[in-house]
Point group: C2
Chain length 587, copies 2
């Protein structure tokens, strides 16, 4: 409710009718001259990263390299117009590419025309799902991907992605499978056929990339270079290794003389107009993957968008973001691309390089268009192993055992969600893994709330404070038992509550009054109300009077409306524990 | 944890080793002479009810009448030994019989020898499931059957059961189906073939039964009869109509002359020794039904057991109850019976008639054994329509629209769970209905906790109280915003929290301090912790300091252990809201 109120306020500020769905109008109308330098610079830096990355991720997704380039043009323009984040850099990303490969490789031969058609149909479906979720205000659904589940998923996906690139680094061919252990087995079996030249190029590229990301920045800073320049140089690592690899292969003729796999001819020209396959049976088969891509892609995107927006006290509208990302996916489907989303590292670079508005994305899109128009011949001798190295370098960041360690120390249930997701992704594949993780989080949450913390309390000295008898030296009296319940009462914990309270009374034959302290009870559902009614009667039959204290306003309103207050007797409901204890002659 | 501690304490009181699993030892050792009259009387009254009811429910379950009688002997003895409730009357009940019919009728012809064998195998499986749940301390699982789901389910089941008896009251044969609407259609189509003599016997019996349950008690009380005698007489309604119906049919030869369906020959003699079919494929097919019977049967049983026990300040051990009911089901499987559970109305009668210990159940079992040994010829001319009338009279109590009305007034989410369960049971069958109801309750609970109530608070006059600015005339100051969150923080609501708080800050450019009041936060999971960390940084980047107040002890312990307190700064965490507001120069 609140969320939608906020959203409409925000949309009203953007105008009425169709205008409220085009947040870009806000920055276009108020564009300031001093935004320009930052937008141009950021657009350039992101394009430098995106040219090699987009091709690498397309290969990871089982697609020809141009699909990645195409997915980096129209979707960026659409997002710049419809998105509410001013720094989000949309395009192909590693995990969505992996989801594409895992969803489509059972249906068609990777790289084939049929596969390309499936990929753009998948982008279309994912886009429709996101637009529908946005219009139905269902953005909250991603909340059920908890942080440990996402972290466990991402870490496992990083391993799967990393392993999937080993074959390319070794220059071997092995059967496609989305099972981690099978792929590992095939890779080890195939390692005997390693193409050593390919491996040298791959490892050299990887070393260079890690240096660009690690030591280079410090060295350049010591040379006294300006920060924007350092960002540009360090982020051009992928472009540099791509150029170097291409030059080495072309100069030494390594593709023919040493069998080094290269990208080959990439067609020149702007993205083609394409149309998704309309076939309900096919859509039904693709829907699970489309859902996974929608949710995972949106989650990655909205997290980074919110983090960046808050740094400048800007707001991101979660439902409009769904619309914008969905439209970007549809744009990818119509221009020969495949599913895209807002990428974590590219968006951070975009922000750091000074992106102020969506113009930065338009600049990137323009540079990508120039690339496909004029520079595709340069990719002919680009070795696949260099692209594999770019992917491996990118996903090393994603593997994150620290989250598990922290979760383990903080809360075992969260650690369990992490481990289940991680294990299931590796054992049964990535979509099953997400599902298993979500179910585990939910089950553990329900398990926890189904056994609420309850404390018998007593009076601290001569104060009006009442604390847990097990933790503090407090005074109680034999004919009254005062119990604080630290959870809302609902169907899953109401029988536990009843059991505990009846057991307490049964264990203390001298008790005549049971005082329930409700300060932490935010809600009482119908099952719990029913239990309270039963408890009241059961206690009365046993000669014990039930009392309530510190009932919250909204809870009290409901108890009153339904007649419970009257049945219990208003004189048995107290504002404070102290007042209740005084009335029961226990202080 | 607490539950098992309690349970072991209780079990220790009962002795060690195998003895702790035989709670009957407690009452056998301490049996008092003054218990005897009550136990004998209660055993007799329950047997009077059980003879006709057990046969009626067996027919409802698609079984020959003797299966109901057999299920009322050995299971009662086993429960008397192993159960922790002293007043629970175990035996065939309407809803479990319906579950049996709905689960087995697709697999075999009702009434056939194969069907009887399936029913006892089902009892065996349900028993094993309950014993396993009891040993694994899984009794808490039934908590997920919320009160509205159970009420909606029971009401729908009452309609299904009632409708299923109409064919017998009309004396017509129609195809078996567990779909309500189909059955309704067949019944209406078949109404033209009504056997009017059968209908007259059925409606006469029904009228008499309703009189026994309603007006008779008052009339007898006016005659000055003692209460135990009144209970015995009013509860003998089923027996009286069975005798009357039998006499009328036998005297007028109505079975042959008017085609009135009768029970026919019931074999005399003690229950046979039987053995469940051991076939894993069959077990897999029966498992869903066995699970539904275990959960629904246990829920019905434990509710009534707890309600009765608390009236005498006795305790019921939920896990031992699972063991006892499971063992009773296994006993039913080994003696030609079918699944049983503790029945609501019979247990209440047992309690009201004075049952003090399990001896009452043993008396009932003994009388049932005498019945199958000597009185089975009496049932030959018992009309099926009388048994149908007994069932219809019993289930009219179960249809409960009042629960829906109350839930609707109290809480729409609970009403929705009721309606979904009710509708799905009628439309798709009873097992699907339970599943749909449970999922609906869970989804609505998660939906509610995913959008916690949040209130901006201000100071009430010159007091130390801070209340919602929307509900009370309070004072705030422009550079501080103090927000109380009325829910534990966990993955499903943490992004909502972040959105709301960031939006509040973005809307108030003059704010420099955000104070989060944590008095209603019982738990912060890893996702929420992550959000708090991000929020802290995002706010800092925007020039706003985060503060916490009224953090609960256990929550604080965790925040401290994980280092959040240190990262936020201990000086930003306050014991009370007032203290915080003073430090922020806002009071």
């Amino acid at each position: 409710m609140r969320n939608s109120a906020l959203t409409s306020a925000q949309r009203a500020a953007n105008g009425n009718g169709w205008r409220r769905y085009v947040p870009a109008l806000a920055w276009v109308r108020n564009y300031r001259r001093d935004y320009l330098a930052g937008d141009l610079m950021a657009g350039l830096v992101v394009a430098i990263m995106l040219v090699p990355q987009s091709m690498a991720y397309a290969l990871l997704g089982g697609l020809p390299p141009q699909a990645g380039l195409y997915a980096s043009i129209a979707p960026l323009v659409v997002y710049a117009l419809l998105g509410t984040s001013r720094a989000l850099a949309v395009g192909p990303v590693a995990i969505v590419s992996l989801l594409v490969a895992s969803g489509l490789s059972p249906l068609a031969e990777p790289g084939s025309a049929a596969y390309v058609q499936l990929a753009l149909t998948l982008a279309f479906l994912a886009g429709i799902v996101q637009v529908a979720m946005g219009l139905a205000r269902m953005g909250f659904l991603v909340n059920f991907l908890s942080y440990p589940v996402l972290a466990g998923f991402t870490s496992a996906a990083a391993l799967v992605i990393g392993l999937s690139q080993v074959r390319t680094l070794l220059g071997i061919k092995i059967p496609q499978t989305d099972k981690f252990l099978e792929t590992l087995l095939y890779t080890v079996q195939g390692a005997g056929r390693t193409n050593w030249v390919t491996l040298a190029i791959g490892l050299g590229s990887l070393a260079l990339l890690l240096y660009f990301r690690g030591g280079l920045g410090k060295h350049l800073a010591r040379l006294g270079l300006s920060r924007p320049l350092i960002v540009t140089i360090t982020r051009s690592g992928p472009l540099v290794v791509a150029l170097l690899g291409t030059l080495v292969v072309a100069a030494l003729d390594l593709d023919r003389r040493a069998g080094v796999q290269v990208v080959g001819r990439v067609p020149a020209g702007l993205p083609p107009l394409t149309w998704p396959t309309v076939d309900l049976a096919l859509w039904a088969a693709l829907l699970p993957t489309a859902l996974a891509i929608s949710l995972v892609g949106y989650t990655e995107s909205i997290s980074v968008a919110k983090a960046l927006a808050s740094k400048r006290r800007q707001k991101v509208d979660p439902d409009q973001e769904l619309l914008a990302l969905g439209a970007a996916d549809v744009a990818a489907a119509l221009t020969g691309g495949y599913p895209v989303t807002g990428g974590l590292s590219r968006s951070s670079v975009n922000f750091a390089a000074g992106a102020n508005t969506g113009l930065a994305s338009l600049v990137t899109a323009g540079l990508m268009a120039l690339t496909v128009l004029f520079f595709t011949p340069a990719f002919t001798y680009l070795p696949n192993a260099v692209l594999a190295a770019i992917i491996v370098a990118a996903v090393t960041n994603l593997f994150d055992l620290e989250t598990l360690r922290e979760a383990w120390r903080y809360n075992k249930a969260d650690a369990a969600s992490w481990l289940v997701t991680f294990g299931v992704v590796l054992a049964w594949g990535i979509e099953v893994g997400i599902g298993a993780g979500v179910l585990t989080s939910l089950a553990l949450f329900l398990w926890r709330t189904s056994r609420p913390h309850m404390a018998v309390v007593g009076r601290v000295g001569e104060t009006e404070h009442f604390r847990n008898v097990l933790r503090h030296p407090v005074r109680t009296c034999p004919h009254v038992i005062a119990v604080r319940v630290d959870e809302s009462l609902y169907f899953a914990n109401t029988r536990y509550l009843e059991d505990q309270l009846l057991a307490m009374v049964a264990d203390r034959p001298e008790v005549r009054h049971l005082l329930l302290i409700c300060s932490a009870i935010n809600f009482i559902d119908a099952s719990a109300l029913q239990t309270l009614e039963a408890l009241h009667e059961e206690l009365r039959d046993a000669g014990v009077q039930l009392h309530l204290a510190e009932v919250k306003g909204p809870v009290m309103d409901r108890l009153q409306a339904i007649g419970f207050v009257e049945r219990l007797g208003a004189q048995h409901i107290f504002l404070s524990t102290h007042e209740a204890m005084r009335a029961l002659e226990c202080v």
